[in-house]
Symmetry: C2
Subunit: 342 residues, 2 copies
DNA sequence: CTGAAAGCGCTTACAG
DNA sequence: CTGAAAGCGCTTACAG
């Protein structure tokens, strides 16, 4: 490792290392001249302070911990991209962990991050999370926590979310306006905040168009589509209904892809037999067959906002009095032929 | 933060804190009984050692640094998933950074990671990298470096790569066997190891089938398809050729998606007019139109192998004498109708 | 404006 | 088998 220490600079320059330390971090009563000499020399030899020593001393690590459900999920990988971009800009190291939808993993990862003394936490909960107590403690002990995407009703804190209700309202409305009557909804675990909100938007649109809500048309994939079998079961059940649906509104990337794959495999024509439209952030909705009408979430933006908010909280001197909740608009992208136009 | 320290345990148990420290980390001459008492108590109060203090003392951080081109690229996000899974298993924190294909970013990120005293580095270089000197130094100073995916000819070290040459050979051969004669190849920057290897496999297959290699049929996207314009230019140039190609073999995810999107937009039928097949790890090749024949790289596996190798190097007592190079097989996935069958 | 000293929480060589 | 002490590289209250 780079072996230069404060001491080396000090002895090279004939100063005490307290002076060097102070010169390097400005805002202290140090003569202009000394400061410049020190800085010039430090630059020259590319001095890098030992972060471990600084952390130990300052009780700050300039790092933030992130917990997502799954790194390789396209929505989350975009969020992470956004978080990293802010981390880089503000010089915070980002430590990424995943729960893989297991509450045990989640808790362990969270404890890991906390034992690494991260300065703050960015969290998207798994569906059956039991980490809320730990997060509360952490928050109380002065390490800020910002939730994004999947939040908890059990813990009031800062939040950055997409307008899930509005998004699913718009998408459902779009289907209704194009003449669909029996719109099914395949979504993830009913305990997830995002699932609850998306269901709400769906119901709201139905009500507005006087379409009675039918419990049987709503199906849950408890693992959010991580297992194709659960989506398969959902689709099968829908197809078996007396009056099977004429459209399916899907609530996530994986569920959307699964649903289309399954319908393809069953040779059920989209959109002639059943229309599909859904939440999706995956890379290429325009080239799938048929081009898919989607609600796109501002994932990159969400990561950026959440990271910015967190860093602001970390760096604010005075304790933050009120919790912020940032709601980001979703975008309805209508693509030809995914649903029959009226 | 959890305020329990060694000292607290020591005073609670009436021991010196050196004894507590030793009891906690086994393999030392400590009586069975004391050890158990200490461990039981530590468990009870959920003692977590202060990582910063340990790092400072041990010059080890139990963390590994990762550099990829772009987190949200589906190939890399799968690799990261694999790396994280091993990090979790072996209790190493993973610090992820991205170069965004900028050599300046790359260098700065690398310096960041090194100044955080990571125990090892997992690197996929950007196409015009100038970080190799720094990496050499790092490696010499005892911090192991493992390259994956995109490697450098300038620096002999441990490597984990896909069989790019074999993959592109297989894919090209598949096209040739199905009667295509003028096969174009759109690939990324000619300086990238993966691009060189894929070009090689392409040439090898052509030679085997006595198809003369034609320079004009090879196009480079210097940003690896991050800008759709560069792929558009490549496709345009190919279409303008006297005898325009009957198939395009694409060398990466983004280039594949771009190419299909562009051909769609130009209303050029795939595969009737031009067949497309390419390297791709994106989530749903089966539902794109038409279902795409791809070479799939074992991305998750690559991340796992690279992380395992790195951690083995970190933990090996004796310096490693020989560099390992692990080559992972790629998988040709033939899907209906992406190319006309003979 | 600058220096000497204490201390952050650990680990480990040195005694006993 | 256990303890007292030094030291990892910083920062900062205390003197001057």
């Amino acid at each position: 490792m780079s072996a230069t220490k404060l001491k080396d600079i000090a002895s090279a320059l004939g100063l005490s290392y307290s002076t060097v330390s102070r010169a390097l971090k400005d805002n202290y009563r140090i003569s202009e001249e000394t400061r410049n000499r020190v800085k010039a020399y430090a630059d020259k030899i590319k001095y890098k302070p030992n972060l471990a020593a600084q952390s130990l001393r300052n009780n700050r690590t300039r790092s933030i911990g992130v917990l997502v459900s799954n790194i390789s999920n396209s929505f989350f990988s975009e969020v992470l991209d956004g978080i990293e971009s802010i981390g880089y800009e503000k010089n915070y190291q980002v430590m990424i962990t995943q729960s893989l939808e297991s509450p045990e993993n989640e808790l362990k990862q969270m404890e890991n991050l906390i034992s690494r003394s991260v300065d703050g936490l960015l969290v998207s909960l798994c569906s059956t999370s039991n980490s809320v107590e730990l997060l509360k403690e952490t928050h109380l002990s002065g390490t800020p926590v910002v939730f994004f995407d999947r939040i908890s009703a059990l813990f009031e804190t800062h939040k950055v979310v997409a307008d899930n209700c509005g998004g699913s309202y718009n998408l459902t409305k779009h289907l209704l306006e194009n003449g669909y009557k029996k719109i099914a909804h395949i979504t993830s675990s009913p305990e997830l905040s995002i699932a609850i909100e998306r269901l709400e938007g769906y119901k709201k649109a139905l009500a507005e168009y006087n379409v009675p809500f039918d419990e049987e048309l709503v199906k849950h994939c408890l693992h959010g589509g991580m297992l194709i079998e659960e989506t398969e079961k959902a689709v099968d059940e829908l197809l078996k209904l007396e009056k099977s649906p004429d459209a399916i509104m899907t609530a996530s990337d994986r569920i959307t892809i699964n649903t289309i794959t399954i319908l393809h495999n069953k040779n059920i024509a989209i959109p002639e037999k059943i229309a599909v439209a859904g939440f999706s952030n995956f890379s290429a909705p325009q080239i799938i067959a048929p081009p898919l009408t989607t609600i796109r979430q501002p994932a990159f933006e969400m990561g950026k906002m959440a990271a910015e908010l967190l860093i602001r909280l970390i760096e604010s001197k005075k304790p933050v009095d009120a919790f912020e909740k940032i709601i980001l608009e979703t975008e309805l992208v209508v693509r030809k032929s995914t649903i029959r136009k009226r």
